[in-house]
């Protein structure tokens, strides 16, 4: 009997407090959604405007009042970019450089990360500090000697010159992220392989690398992104249009006498697609790898 009253009383007390609490919660939820939408407008409107402008006729770009979809809606700007061989060359160059940088960076970084993760050796701390510090060296400081160096080595205005110099940005990150990833894998794995008769080399490539694919993908995506987006070295270490990459191609479009805004936006969209696709495909492992490696949380 006392049991029933107790339960009854408890239910009653819950009912009394639930009413205002749910109201408050609904209000909070509405506030959160409103804040999220305002933030999303701030983040997304420029992107939407870029997309919208790329489908306009150039004469409509500054028409008032601004419209997202105009009567002149067409793919003309895209056709203009995609049928121009000199502009397609920018894309080809960017792909060649970014893919080469990604492959080479991963190769060198996996080796170094294995060394850092599995061995203790004299000078390890110092090398670690140097690698972390390299990330802070200003590109503007490097670009002057790079210019002299690349001319001297005969690598000025070549793919190898760009590929090599891009690695100064990608390698430190890749090593830090890969080392963090290898550190999460138990040493027993490679040791078991060695007990079975495999040497260090086989243990790394046949055992460790295959199970590190998520980490390698994250590092690879980030490396590709850095190389694809690089501007200063591509600007100073190349001279001819046959060697220019997409970011420089976009700048060159802007430098011409009349501003073809719709074409510049179409080129921007086309130039952003590879990174957007990679990000959407590998979002999860990418964000995970990035935050664990870069910020070491």
């Amino acid at each position: 009997m006392s049991n029933v009253t107790l339960r009854g009383r408890r239910e009653a007390s819950i009912d009394v407090s639930r009413q205002p609490r749910t109201a408050k919660k609904t209000l909070l939820k509405a506030g959160a959604i409103a804040a999220l939408v305002i933030g999303a407008l701030y983040a997304g409107l420029p992107v939407l405007w870029m997309l919208s402008t790329s489908f306009k006729q150039n004469g409509e770009v500054f028409a008032l009042p601004p419209k997202l979809i105009t009567s002149g809606f067409s793919l003309d700007a895209y056709t203009a970019i995609l049928t121009d061989p000199s502009r397609l060359r920018f894309f080809l160059n960017s792909y060649i450089v970014a893919i080469a940088v990604t492959v080479l960076t991963l190769l060198v970084a996996i080796l170094a990360a294995y060394g850092f993760s599995r061995y203790e050796f004299p000078g390890k701390r110092l090398i670690n500090i140097v690698i972390v510090s390299v990330q802070a060296v200003p590109p503007i400081t490097l670009v002057i000697p790079y210019f002299g160096l690349m001319v001297a080595l005969g690598l000025y205005n070549t793919y190898p010159g760009l590929i090599l110099t891009h690695m100064v940005f990608t390698l430190p990150y890749a090593i830090i992220m890969m080392t963090a990833y290898f550190n999460t894998l138990p040493r027993e794995l490679d040791e078991a392989a060695k007990v079975d008769g495999a040497n260090v080399w086989t243990a790394l490539w046949r055992v460790l690398v295959p199970i590190s694919v998520p980490g390698i993908v994250a590092v690879g995506v980030y490396t590709f992104m850095i190389s694809w987006n690089e501007f200063l070295f591509a600007l100073t270490l190349t001279r001819t249009d046959s060697m220019r990459t997409v970011p420089i191609g976009i700048q060159l479009l802007m430098g011409q006498h009349s501003f073809e805004w719709n074409q510049m936006m179409a080129m921007s969209i086309l130039g952003s697609i590879p990174v957007l696709l990679l990000f959407l495909l590998f979002q999860r492992s990418f964000i995970g790898g990035l935050t664990s490696g870069a910020v070491k949380d």
């Binding site: 959160a32 997304g44 060394g115 510090s133 921007s268 910020v295």
Partner: protein, 317 residues
């Protein structure tokens, strides 16, 4: 034998177990095995030497010479280039602009990044909703600076969409990027838009690492949202905030493409920063000696910041 071969790869154990025996002459195999880690890191060491050590020595050398790169026989001039740079009013303006640009950018990146991270971490909303908003919020970070620069040039054009929107609220627009008074603020605004997502992602990961037990305990003790944020969340994510802030100061100080493609440092040096100043000395005036001195000064300033970053990382290890 089996035991010792596995021990080789356990740094902690090899040192202690091999300690007393280390006076004995070592077998060549052991010595070769000691070289193994160096074999793994040697490509990295070679690349870092070629891509940072050698260039830094080169630029330091250039900075003490006259007419480098353009003339075959440069002469040693001591600190003359440094005197020239440090007494150049344009460089001092660039230094001041850089300071405003990087501190404003970093502070607002932090505030926006934290606000968005808290919103995306709220238990009030479903995971699908949050995942969709997260993608939208990360968007600015996925575009290259060249793209960001021209999109904002389009939007900030005197007859562009920003002035139109301001007009609907009765606010008089401006030629944002071409007016000396507004140019630096506008460039900073664009940089804030392009850079906050990296803060947001890192802080979101840090927020998700705060144990919910702590929040529950604080709630039981009667702590409100603000108190829980101040005494539970903030101490937990503080190390990430400090690391990100220092990294952001360093990265923002290196920003070149955004300013080069929006204002080129103008109008009237209003947006000149140390990187655009150095670039112009080198590749517009072909005065590589002065540019090198400026580049070394930039490097020293950055290294001072990097020193704090490395120390911060060490404290956290």
């Amino acid at each position: 034998m089996n035991l010792s071969s596995t021990n080789v790869h356990r740094p902690g154990t090899i040192r202690s177990s091999a300690g007393p025996r280390s006076t004995r002459p070592k077998a060549p195999a052991v010595r070769a095995r000691k070289l193994v880690p160096f074999a793994f890191v040697s490509p990295t060491l070679a690349l870092i030497t070629l891509l940072t050590v050698v260039p830094i020595l080169m630029v330091a050398g250039y900075s003490f010479m006259d007419n480098v790169i353009v003339e075959p026989n440069p002469v040693f001039v001591g600190f003359a280039n440094y005197v020239k740079v440090l007494s150049d009013p344009t460089f001092l303006t660039a230094l001041g602009n850089t300071f405003v640009f990087i501190t404003l950018s970093t502070v607002v990146h932090l505030v926006l990044g934290l606000a968005f991270a808290l919103l995306l971490n709220t238990p009030l909303l479903g995971n699908v909703t949050k995942a969709i908003f997260r993608v939208i919020y990360i968007l600015p970070w996925l575009f290259t600076i060249a793209v960001i620069a021209i999109v904002w040039r389009l939007m900030l054009d005197p007859s562009g969409v920003v002035n139109y929107l301001l007009g609907t609220f009765g606010i008089q627009g401006a030629d944002w990027l071409s007016t000396p008074e507004t140019a630096l603020g506008s460039v900073t605004f664009i940089n804030i838009w392009s850079g906050y997502p990296f803060f947001m992602i890192s802080l979101l990961a840090a927020l998700q690492g705060v144990p919910t037990v702590l929040h529950e305990a604080a709630r039981v003790d009667g702590a409100g949202w603000w108190q829980r944020f101040l005494y539970v969340t903030l101490p937990h994510i503080r190390p990430v905030i400090i690391s990100m802030a220092v990294l952001d100061l360093i990265w923002t100080s290196q920003q070149f493409a955004l300013i080069w493609m929006t204002t080129g440092g103008g109008p009237l040096n209003a947006t000149e920063v140390v990187s655009t100043y150095t670039y112009k000395q080198a590749f517009s005036n072909f005065d590589f000696s002065t540019a090198s001195a400026a580049a070394v000064i930039v490097l020293l300033l950055t290294m001072a910041l990097a020193f704090f970053y490395v120390r911060q990382q060490k404290v956290r290890d």
